[in-house]
């Protein structure tokens, strides 16, 4: 049996940072050949291919890095960017002075894994792992505290569960898959998974 941590896939990490006192965006856009459409968006979009990231730079010298798979990704991305900026003769802070703060982390997790169910069905003799397992989201709305869940099948197929602590939001789908978002750290996601698994223990 694999652990929760291995099953959890972090799909997006967003971090914010500040790399300079001030940035001359038009100049950067020309020198680094980046996307810059001030009429559409006030920042320069700097794309990194490996790891696949997008860093948004603003006039104030702040930057937002999105699309990372973990914190390490973000660090490498920002280092690459600072290297490029310096190569183009733009003054930035030293890498040691740049503080990177994770703002959001999104992860996916599944409540059902076929390999958890070994043996065969008593009546049909088919392996249990093949049996389709679905969550009844309607029942779930009664199981969880009502002021924290939101299930509007007309508007969104998933059930939205807002936890107070850790302060994250979970989208639970009928297939038993979940998306956990709003966390600042991976431990918060793991905690949330634990809580939800506890609360749904008798439904799984």
């Amino acid at each position: 049996m694999t652990t929760d941590e291995e099953r959890l896939t972090v799909v997006n990490v967003v971090a914010s940072t500040r790399v300079a006192e001030e940035l001359d965006l038009p100049d950067i856009a020309i020198q680094l050949n980046c996307e810059y459409e001030p009429e559409q968006f006030p920042g320069v979009v700097y794309r990194v291919v490996d790891p696949k990231l997008a860093i948004l730079m603003f006039r104030s010298g702040r930057a937002v890095c999105t699309g990372g798979k973990d914190e390490q990704n973000i660090h490498t991305g920002i280092e690459l960017m600072i290297g490029d900026l310096r190569a183009a003769g733009i003054t930035t802070w030293d890498i040691e002075d740049v503080e990177i703060e994770v703002q959001n982390m999104v992860a996916t997790y599944a409540l059902h894994y076929p390999e958890d169910y070994d043996g065969t069905d008593k009546f049909t003799g088919e392996p249990l792992a093949d049996a389709p397992r679905k969550l009844n989201l309607n029942n779930l709305t009664f199981h969880l505290p009502f002021d924290k869940v939101e299930y509007e099948p007309e508007q969104f197929p998933g059930l939205i569960y807002r936890l107070d602590y850790p302060k994250v939001v979970c989208l639970i789908f009928g297939s038993g898959k979940m998306v956990i978002t709003g966390a600042r750290h991976k431990s918060e996601i793991l905690e949330a998974v634990e809580i939800i698994k506890d609360e749904l223990a008798d439904l799984l």
């Binding site: 679905k134 009844n136 309607n138 099948p153 007309e154 009928g174 297939s175």
Partner: protein
């Protein structure tokens, strides 16, 4: 306010029985089990007895219009009558006509005293307009007005449009009363889009801590069936199919209207009163593709044989 709460008395204070009866001629509220008179001298708010025509009924009513939440002042304000007659029924001298005209105008304006009142008056008018367009009953309109007032009290209107909040109140009211309309239907009747209504609705539910059950396909069956001119046989079949589908967990995470539409489609074919997918789609406000997809899932999992 004393007599108002007579309406609220539901239990005998002596024996806790709920068997209460109202004696209109004596104006008493009596417990049927122990005989205690719970209230006396109850004001009868009904019309005078022996009415031979509706106009007469209006004339003989002993009190004014009942309070209603659907008006911003609860229907308690007074008007200067549009007829130029004084209290005894004599025509007002033409010298004073224009004066009365102006007084009437100002009285109408001053009835709405401040911005909040004006907001409420506008919103309630909008609510009424939408409800009329959707042909909703009075109970739903009242519930919608109550929802809107709650939102005003909690200051949820700030930063949102009156139309959006009014439409969301109506949508919530429909669901509270067990006659859900789809967001699209409400959206068509209102001046805002379904997205805004949905967003405002979710916000309201969260802030007002309303407890509203998720809608299911069963809520839409009878309305869609009558929209398609299908009879009770098809309707019964559809309910049966929905139950089967719910037992097999085929409904969770699917849009209730889509499921309802495809189930009605299947039921109509099974009963030999076939409606085309396009007809069903139009009535239910979903696309034909949705019907086909749900239909495939349903017949596969419910083992239904259909000849098309």
């Amino acid at each position: 306010m004393e007599d108002q709460h007579v309406e609220d008395v539901v239990k005998c204070s002596e024996c806790a029985s709920r068997n209460l009866s109202r004696d209109e001629t004596r104006g008493e509220l009596i417990c049927d089990d122990c005989g205690l008179v719970l209230e006396d001298n109850v004001i009868d708010q009904g019309a005078e007895w022996r009415v031979f025509s509706p106009e007469q009924g209006d004339q003989r009513a002993r009190t004014g219009a009942p309070m209603t939440v659907m008006l911003h002042d609860k229907g308690l304000s007074t008007d200067i009558d549009w007829q130029n007659k004084d209290y005894s029924g004599k025509t007002i001298n033409s010298r004073y006509r224009s004066q009365f005209y102006r007084m009437r105008k100002w009285q109408k304006r001053s009835r709405v005293s401040n911005a909040t009142e004006r907001n409420l008056a506008m919103a309630l008018a909008e609510l009424d307009r939408m409800a009329s367009r959707l042909e909703l009953p009075k109970s739903v309109r009242e519930a919608a007005a109550v929802n809107y007032k709650k939102a005003v009290d909690k200051r949820l209107i700030r930063g949102r449009s009156i139309e959006g909040v009014a439409a969301a109140s109506l949508y919530a009211a429909c669901r509270q009363c067990g006659v859900p309309r789809t967001l699209d239907e409400i959206g068509q009747a209102s001046r805002t889009g379904r997205k805004e209504i949905g967003r405002t609705y979710r916000f309201m539910v969260r802030e007002l801590k309303m407890k509203i059950m998720p809608t299911g396909p069963e809520d839409y069956i009878s309305r869609f069936c009558s929209g398609l001119g299908l009879d009770a046989e098809v309707e019964a079949k559809a309910y049966e199919l929905i139950k089967a589908a719910q037992e097999k967990e085929l409904t969770s995470g699917r849009g209730p209207t889509g499921i309802a539409a495809s189930i009605i489609y299947i039921a109509s074919v099974l009963c030999g009163k076939r409606r085309t997918q396009r007809e069903v789609a139009e009535v239910a406000g979903v696309t034909e593709v949705t019907i086909r997809n749900r239909y495939k899932e349903l017949i596969q999992n419910l083992n239904i044989e259909l000849e098309i």
